[in-house]
């Protein structure tokens, strides 16, 4: 008597989940379908159900073809810039964050609370609210269209520091005491004990920060005007203009670029799901 009713609710659960999953997946499948079709078909009919043979062709176009004056914004070049931004941002953030968190948690510091508040105030204001003055300062420093100018201002917030501070505080105190008795000084303790111990945390942070850096849009849009410096996400604007301007809009190439722009972060998030979820949900505590 109970069983059939139970089953019905389970079926309903699955139906809801399947609808939800389709809602999340379909737009991307649509991009994929369109990029397999000739541009002419796309222009006339838009997305459809048949899968064409233009994938490799469009992939090559997306990677190698450029528009604009310099001809520097090929997909390949933008991919390279995106990787530099993603890695540079993630590594910079993690290294600086670990160093600062180490200083705050493990040292007796006279101005510790001052440093703490100075660093943690940065959590309060995202880059977007101070975007124009930041732009002016980067301009004054002559860092427009440079990787430093792209990456360093984005690092000026304490999310990673905060995360590592929380984590370091959760490490049992006896560990540092044991290490001190074992004759490990602060530098040795950091490299021999703390860093290896934080491996999972570093991995989790890396994933979150890489995705965050890779997906930056507003800042790169302002700071890079040189096409050779465009990232994939920054280049999206070009993609939409491609759809507008040309006589036959290059849907194949544009959608392929969009797919390339989301593929690396999506792969990382999917493959390292458990680390990623852990990092995300624990960073707010």
């Amino acid at each position: 008597m109970q069983k059939p009713r139970l089953r019905l609710s389970t079926v309903l659960d699955h139906v809801i989940l399947i609808i939800g999953s389709l809602f999340m997946m379909l737009p991307v499948l649509m991009l994929l379908q369109m990029t397999s079709m000739p541009d002419l078909v796309n222009m006339k009919n838009g997305p459809g159900l048949s899968f064409g043979s233009q994938l490799d062709d469009n992939f090559l176009k997306a990677m190698l073809k450029a528009d604009g004056f310099a001809g520097a914004n090929t997909g390949l070049n933008m991919l390279w810039n995106s990787l530099i931004l993603g890695f540079g941002f993630a590594i910079g953030k993690i290294v600086l964050g670990m160093m600062a968190a180490y200083a705050i948690v493990y040292f007796r510091l006279r101005f510790a609370s001052f440093a703490f508040w100075m660093i943690f105030t940065t959590l309060l204001l995202p880059l977007e609210v101070r975007i124009l003055p930041s732009y002016e300062i980067v301009q004054k420093l002559g860092m427009l269209n440079t990787y430093q100018g792209l990456i360093v201002p984005l690092i000026a917030s304490a999310t990673a520091t905060f995360f590592f501070r929380q984590y370091f505080r959760s490490i049992p105190e006896e560990l540092v005491e044991a290490a001190r008795i074992d004759g490990a000084g602060p530098v040795k303790f950091f490299f021999d004990i703390l860093v290896p111990l934080s491996r999972t945390m570093v991995a989790a942070m890396f994933i979150i920060m890489f995705v965050y850096g890779w997906n930056q849009y507003l800042w790169p849009t302002m700071i890079t005007t040189d096409e050779g410096m465009f990232t994939l996400v920054r280049g999206i604007k070009q993609i939409t203009q491609m759809l507008e301007g040309n006589q036959i809009p290059e849907y194949g190439r544009a959608n392929m670029l969009a797919l390339i722009a989301i593929l690396p972060p999506v792969l990382i998030v999917v493959f390292f799901q458990s680390w990623f979820v852990k990092g995300l949900t624990e960073s707010d505590k």
Binding site: G20, M99, R130, I131, P133, E136, F189, V233, N255, V269
Partner: protein
């Protein structure tokens, strides 16, 4: 600070120095700059500036476009927050319940986290293409003559939809992890005390998820204010015109495109105060959450 801290004097300073330097140059300096220049009026060529006191603020107060952007931002934020939280909660509850395919569903529902907002915007443009966009067709079937980028409300609708789509995964992840942290014994006790599944949800699960929900509420409002920039900029194809605009987008348009540094700075300062208030509220909630658990 730990009890058994190291006592070196220079090492911690050395460790803090890089972070401090970057923060001072790229955080405090710009923030200060925004604050001061909000009291000045720059001439269009940037050669001179005059102190005007609160004039930039008062002119914002009187500005109709600013009021329009502000009210749109409020409605937009509330809609995006409410819808993405509600859908994510429903999906998280179901994903937590099912046994078969749980992992596949989880992956399918969270991967969009990694999609850049402007790419989400590009998908919106295609979905709402005037002649053959699948969603345009669907809405036309329902008798809605949808015109993205032309009709104010249609554009706003697209912005909300795409932003919700982009925001569901992060809420889903937090809700799911919140659900999974409810002790098994509590669930079993509820199973004995209450026959009805929906009763169990509203009496036990929902209150236990409330702290996560409060936390997400603030996160989502912040998201709809700032991270939607990419969605909006691509959906209007960089041409705001008469289209709906959020406050952050307006800061960018007025300051970067319109060269109105003073006005834009005043807008920045208003946003700073807004975000500050929200983040402080969030810290309070997080603090309380720690006390409860």
């Amino acid at each position: 600070m730990k009890r058994a801290a190291f006592t070196n004097r220079w090492l911690p300073i050395l460790l803090l120095l890089p972070q401090m330097a970057i923060i001072v140059v790229f955080f405090y300096w710009p923030a200060w700059h925004a604050l001061t220049s909000s009291f000045y009026l720059q001439d269009p060529f940037g050669f001179s500036e005059t102190f005007v006191g609160f004039a930039n603020y008062t002119s914002l107060w009187k500005s109709a476009p600013y009021a329009r952007a502000a009210s749109f931002t409020v409605v937009f934020s509330l809609l995006v927050t409410f819808l993405s939280l509600a859908i994510a909660l429903l999906l998280a509850v179901k994903a937590d319940k099912v046994i078969k395919g749980a992992k596949a569903y989880r992956t399918a529902l969270m991967w969009v986290y990694a999609v850049a907002p402007p790419v989400a915007g590009v998908m919106g443009i295609i979905l709402f293409n005037q002649s053959w966009g699948p969603l345009t067709r669907f809405l036309t079937m329902l008798g809605w003559d949808f015109k993205l980028g032309v009709n104010y409300y249609d554009t706003a609708f697209a912005m909300v939809l795409v932003s919700v789509w982009k925001q569901i995964p992060v809420n889903f992840i937090f809700f799911l992890s919140g659900l999974q942290s409810i002790p098994k014994s509590v669930r079993e006790a509820a199973l004995i005390d209450n026959r009805s599944a929906s009763g169990r949800f509203w009496d036990i699960t929902f209150p236990l998820l409330a702290p996560t929900g409060f936390f997400l509420l603030i996160t989502n409002i912040t998201y709809s204010l700032f991270d939607t920039f990419g969605v909006i900029d691509t959906l209007v194809k960089g041409e705001p015109g008469n289209n709906p605009m959020t406050l952050v987008y307006k800061v960018y348009v007025d300051g970067f495109r319109g060269n109105d540094m003073g006005g834009s700075s005043a807008q920045s300062v208003i946003l700073m105060v807004l975000v500050l208030a929200m983040t402080i509220a969030q810290f309070r909630l997080v603090e309380r959450r720690i006390h409860y658990t």
